[in-house]
């Protein structure tokens, strides 16, 4: 009877079916954790008010502010007003809504505030086997713990507020098997960029990805989060990594993970989640980590990516040519040694402590090249504090970089941290779409190592050149 082997997705899915799907209706799926922020919730709160509804499970809901928030210390902690009026209004509105509906808010001056996908794991709220949603596509990050986590729109935010459930059809499963070992100077960011380059920006559409294999098992939790974070850039709403001792060791010391006997019971339950031997995926691909080099994007979607030693490919496609024209690049040209204007270390992809350590390791004793602006924005206030305890802030500041308060910042520029028109930015974030970092801004996605090496040289640099010395 129980002989049918199951994938991790199937197990988590079945555990959350309030009502299974039928040909007429999708499944009613229960949500264990609803993360919320200032940008995609106001319209959902309006619906609650219009219909006289309450938030069903405020205890399973957490709010913070990250997208529109300032990163300048004086605007966060007082002394200067928030320069963008509409951003200030959004922040104020969230404060009001959380107070009215009884939702815990890690507000602007909270020491636990940060990018929503950084603080969920840091607090230990992100746990294996949970269903986690947020009005943000990078909710896929939390899948690194073996959770089923995906982004939703504001209407769905309202549905979860009111009922703690969503109507969903079960997605297909895609196994990304990664064998081998990453070489020195090649990071999780390079691996996920290579995976997106292989799958294409819509190769994962309709699927939940499970990242598997020895190279994935060897990654720490920060690295697994970087991988799962960018699942959506391949079109997959969610990415997952099976929980293991690395996962449990990370969670054990977090403040809101289960404690005592509850911890033991939870770990026993979590160990059952892994995909059974012989379970079938709808699709599988293989990647060899050992053959990878540092990767960098050259176009206006994350699938337009090459090894840093490579050159821009050619294509007759209209969108591809438009993209190269926007970037000011030509087919056949190298990206390495291209001069840059801005380097951004930040975002839910690469602004955790290990990312800052990577970047600081390259920067230590070196200077940001003249004419280059470098912005370092920690993923959370806790990351900032931990980095400062190690003196990483001084490494960046001594080099001439700006050290800011946490937030999404220059990843999407909603808070006014922008890249100028025509300028080149090497960014550790997740999207190089046209105008993403500012009108006319040209974004090259890369790892924290590559970004830091580029800041030092003032031109796109293979980090292995600086690591070797």
């Amino acid at each position: 009877m129980n002989a049918q082997p199951k994938t991790m997705l199937e197990k988590v899915w079945e555990q959350h079916e309030v009502v299974p799907e039928s040909s007429e209706t999708p499944a009613v799926l229960y949500i264990d954790l609803h993360l919320t922020h200032e940008v995609t919730t106001p319209q959902a709160f309006t619906v609650l008010r219009e219909r006289g509804l309450r938030v069903r499970r405020p205890d399973l809901t957490l709010a913070t502010m990250d997208h529109s928030t300032p990163t300048r210390t004086e605007q966060v902690f007082g002394g200067a007003p928030i320069t963008i009026e509409s951003a200030a209004k959004q922040i104020h509105e969230l404060e009001k809504n959380c107070a009215e509906f009884g939702i815990e808010l890690l507000g602007l001056q909270s020491e636990l505030r940060g990018i929503v996908h950084v603080i969920g794991p840091e607090l230990g709220l992100t746990q294996p086997g949970k269903t986690i949603v947020c009005g943000d596509s990078h909710t896929s990050t939390h899948g690194a713990f073996g959770a089923l986590a995906f982004g939703i729109g504001s209407t769905e935010v309202g549905l979860v507020f009111a009922t703690q459930c969503l109507l969903q059809r079960k997605p297909r499963t895609l196994a990304v098997n990664v064998k081998g070992t990453l070489r020195p100077g090649v990071t999780a960011k390079d691996l996920i960029l290579a995976i997106i380059g292989t799958l294409g920006v819509s190769g994962g559409t309709g699927y939940v990805i499970e990242y598997r294999g020895e190279a994935i098992r060897a990654l720490d939790m920060d690295e697994r989060m970087t991988i799962c974070n960018m699942s959506i850039e391949a079109g997959a709403r969610a990415g997952m990594v099976a929980p293991d001792e690395t996962t449990f060791a990370y969670l054990k010391s977090t403040p809101r993970a289960p404690k005592g006997e509850a911890w033991d019971r939870a770990v026993a339950r979590w160990k059952q989640l892994v995909t059974d031997p012989g379970a079938r995926f709808d699709r599988e691909i293989e990647i060899d980590a050992s053959s990878l080099e540092p990767m960098i994007t050259y176009g206006t979607n994350p699938g337009m990516v090459i090894p840093i030693t490579g050159s821009v490919p050619a294509s007759g496609d209209k969108a591809f040519d438009k993209s190269l024209a926007y970037m000011g690049f030509e087919a056949g040209a190298a990206i390495r040694d291209k001069p840059v204007n801005v380097v951004f270390i930040g975002s839910c992809t690469n602004a955790r402590l290990s990312d800052l350590r990577d970047a600081a390791g390259v920067m230590r004793g070196r200077k940001v090249a003249s004419g280059v602006q470098m912005l370092v924005v920690p993923g959370s206030q806790q990351v900032k504090k931990a980095a400062e305890a190690e003196g990483l802030d001084l490494v960046f500041k001594d080099a001439g970089a700006e050290w800011r308060e946490s937030g999404c910042s220059m990843c999407l520029g909603m808070n006014g941290d922008l890249v100028g028109a025509g300028q080149y930015s090497v960014s550790t974030s997740n999207r190089n779409f046209e105008g993403r970092q500012g009108i006319g801004a040209r974004t090259l996605l890369a790892s924290p190592l590559t970004a830091a090496a580029t800041a030092v040289r003032g031109r796109v640099t293979d980090p292995r050149e600086l690591l070797a010395g």
Binding site: Q90, G151, L159, S202, T205, K318, L412, F433
Partner: protein
């Protein structure tokens, strides 16, 4: 939600693949707490020049695009962010359907909740539509068919419950609320 059964319109054509949500509605316009008024910012960077004047060569600024309620675009339309502001901008502008060979998952979900019909077609149909801007098409949501002026009729896939919601103008909230007893029962057996 506004019921939507049939859409008849000339098409406006954006013949590009991977049109992302940052193009549909740039992030700086998301600092609003309302769901109204996003249409004027739709495709903002492509539609207006640095001074804010309409770019004459952009498809939506051409006289023949006026009044079109069906948009035809290249594959993987709506990739990127979960911002529901993308379908809000498209519907506020006046679009009622988007035709493509592929839609990003979150965008498609958000569209279905906002009376915007994602019409998924095969490569050949897409190629014909991209090559024939301004074609008069009919999208019949009840039968899930797209009719071309050539007489060709194409069935497109649409999740049955989503179609029911579109045609009847009902949203998912009422359905979920009707499951309150099941939700409570689930909560009582749920591991902590």
């Amino acid at each position: 939600m506004e019921p939507i059964k049939t859409i008849r319109s000339r098409t406006a054509v954006l013949p590009l693949a991977n049109i992302d949500t940052d193009q549909i509605i740039p992030a700086r316009f998301l600092r609003s707490t309302s769901r109204e008024g996003f249409g004027k910012h739709l495709f903002s960077e492509w539609r207006y020049d640095e001074s804010g004047a309409p770019r004459a060569d952009f498809v939506l600024n051409r006289p023949e695009a006026k009044g079109c309620t069906v948009l035809v675009a290249g594959r993987n339309f709506g990739c990127g962010s979960s911002r529901e502001h993308a379908p809000w901008a498209l519907t506020d502008y006046g679009f009622r359907a988007v035709i493509s060979t592929e839609f990003a998952d979150i965008f498609r979900n958000n569209s279905l909740k906002n009376s915007l019909v994602p019409v998924l077609v095969d490569e050949a149909t897409s190629a014909w539509l991209l090559a024939n801007p301004g074609a008069e098409v009919t999208v019949d949501v009840e039968t899930a068919t797209l009719a071309l002026p050539t007489g060709k009729r194409i069935t497109f896939p649409i999740e049955p419950f989503a179609r029911y919601c579109l045609v009847n103008g009902v949203d998912e909230l009422g359905f979920l609320q009707s499951k309150a007893a099941d939700i409570s029962a689930y909560e009582s057996r749920r591991p902590v």
